[in-house]
Symmetry: C2
Subunit: 337 residues, 2 copies
């Protein structure tokens, strides 16, 4: 590979500069391990402190009945409100509407530990909770309220990744509109379908399985890869092997397989890179719009926060990734767990 | 205003959640003043240490001849290379090309201080250096090499804004393609032109001048505003009052007026918010494509880094801004300098 290369894949259609030379810069790859994040005096997510957070929406009991193992509630500092009617306005060149939607918090374990430290079984329960909440919101939308078009599930671990609590949790936000970047992936895949009559995600999975150089972890049902044109160093995507457009349609077996690949991937990232702050998010098809099922697969993207987007990235939407994705994948693959 | 509101303007066409309730979160607005950033043992940008950086491309001498006041050189850790021919390739669903382009560094003062601390006259010299470099690269492109389509000038001050050096500097990157987000603004403005036969930036400036609630600083030629649908808290745009598509066409008088508004704005942000890390970038029309001159104004965007984009923002391109822009503008306007 030359000193630097522009790359894009057809899913995001974003050009990224893979600039191997820049990884020599003095400041790269410095961070505090999230395992060392200061513990709060009282963790609002630990059992016994439920009164510090809004009422429980959903919880799963431990097998021995000694308390909850998963707990979901509305985000205390929520960005969106589920009540009211959608009201759009315009004034000159400005547009606004009230902030309708859902904003929930999913505590992934009763133990005070990070997402890196979940067991496969805890991740399995977490994914089930995500599925249950999506199906429940889908039903509510069917019945008329709230007006949710798209649900995004995401996690922030570590302060520099926007995670204010160390205790492992995910968040769910339901939006009345399609968010721009998720929508762009859907429409790029639609364009490819129109031209090729093939599913771009099926082709991506096939090409990655054949080239093998970017695979991090895999089992019969899922694989994780360092994306060919990842915007961030060690950016990793988890993909279903088969054509699966909707996360919430996952079977018991599929959720177990997804939990296994997700945790194997997170453990490799943690061990290789000293447990960096990270974000993860689920990309899915819209809640009720089934037009996209022919050409999209739900997927999970994991972004270790080893560097910050700076002026160039914020100003252009164009990212400079200082680590060659094939090198990143090899490093993660070779971790001994 | 309700607890939260979705907003967009027609230039970026991005929906943003203005979520006033979230600013109550414990972690918001914590940062170290960039004035307190640790000084390096040897600053490569200070006079006397020029040998630590690549050769000078452009410099302005001090009036008394006692050394340089502005110095430009190729970035030592450059993302792009100016030599070679553009070579595009495809492999399955992947696309790549070699990383052609320019990457330069503009040291804005011989003194070891931050961008916040520049005098109006130092900012004036800096803007002249930006103009000179753009005109020089434009000429080179006219003569055939390198293949640059779009130039972005940006600055990163403070480590969490990606600025590895405290000593004030800007960077210039020339790209062979149009970067996605800058391109999107151009095409949104084109769409508006096609529909309304009016320049969207002229209308924005008129509406802001009339409403006055988002103005931070102004003089006869420029104004700065907290953008109605700013993605980040205290995001501030500097706009020419009149129809000015190209930064590099600025007259001496205009550059002086721009330096004045830029420094007044930066000083207000610094004093009000304890000198937070920030990014700034210039949005301009493409170097040689004059189709956009009817409907675009060059502008500078300043992003104080008070919070980090997290999973939701990275996953959706949808931003949550916890500070109402009208409140932010009032706070900045009321700063006593």
């Amino acid at each position: 590979m030359p000193k630097s290369e522009f790359r894009r894949n057809l899913i995001t259609k974003r050009w990224v500069v893979i600039a191997a030379e820049r990884s020599r810069r003095p400041l790269e790859l410095r961070h505090m391990s999230v395992l060392e994040q200061k513990n709060p005096d009282i963790c609002p997510f630990c059992p016994g402190n439920e009164a510090q957070t809004p009422p429980t929406i959903l919880s799963y009991a431990k097998d021995d009945g000694s308390g909850w193992k998963i707990r979901v509630f509305a985000n205390k500092y929520r960005a969106l409100s589920i009540e009211g009617k959608l009201d759009k306005q315009k004034r000159g060149i400005f547009r606004n509407m009230n902030g309708m939607g859902a904003h929930e918090l999913i505590v992934t374990t009763p133990e005070h530990k990070t997402l890196y430290e979940l067991s496969d079984s805890e991740m399995n329960d977490t994914l089930w909770a995500c599925k249950d909440r999506m199906l429940d919101l889908k039903k509510a939308v069917d019945e008329g309220e709230p007006k949710i078009y798209y649900i995004i599930i995401f996690g922030n671990q570590g302060e520099t990744a926007g995670g204010s609590q160390k205790h492992g949790h995910l968040q769910l936000i339901g939006l009345p509109i399609a968010p721009e970047d998720s929508w762009k992936e859907l429409s790029n895949c639609e364009e490819y379908w129109d031209e090729e009559n093939e599913c771009l995600f099926c082709n991506l999975t096939a090409q990655e399985s054949e080239e093998k150089t970017r695979i991090v972890s895999e089992n019969d049902n899922f694989l994780s890869i360092c994306d060919y044109s990842g915007k961030f160093p060690f950016e990793t995507w988890i993909l279903p092997r088969n054509h699966r457009p909707l996360f919430e349609d996952s079977t018991d077996k599929n959720i177990r397989a997804l939990a296994e690949v997700a945790m194997d991937t997170l453990r490799r990232i943690g061990k290789a890179l000293n447990y960096p702050p990270f974000n993860l998010y689920f990309h899915n098809t819209p809640l009720h719009d089934r037009n996209h099922d022919r050409y999209y697969h739900f997927n999970i993207k994991i972004i270790p926060r080893l560097s910050q987007p700076a002026g160039f990235e914020l100003g252009t939407g164009f990212y400079i990734n200082p680590i060659i994705p094939e090198d990143a994948a090899r490093i993660l693959r070779e971790v001994k767990l």
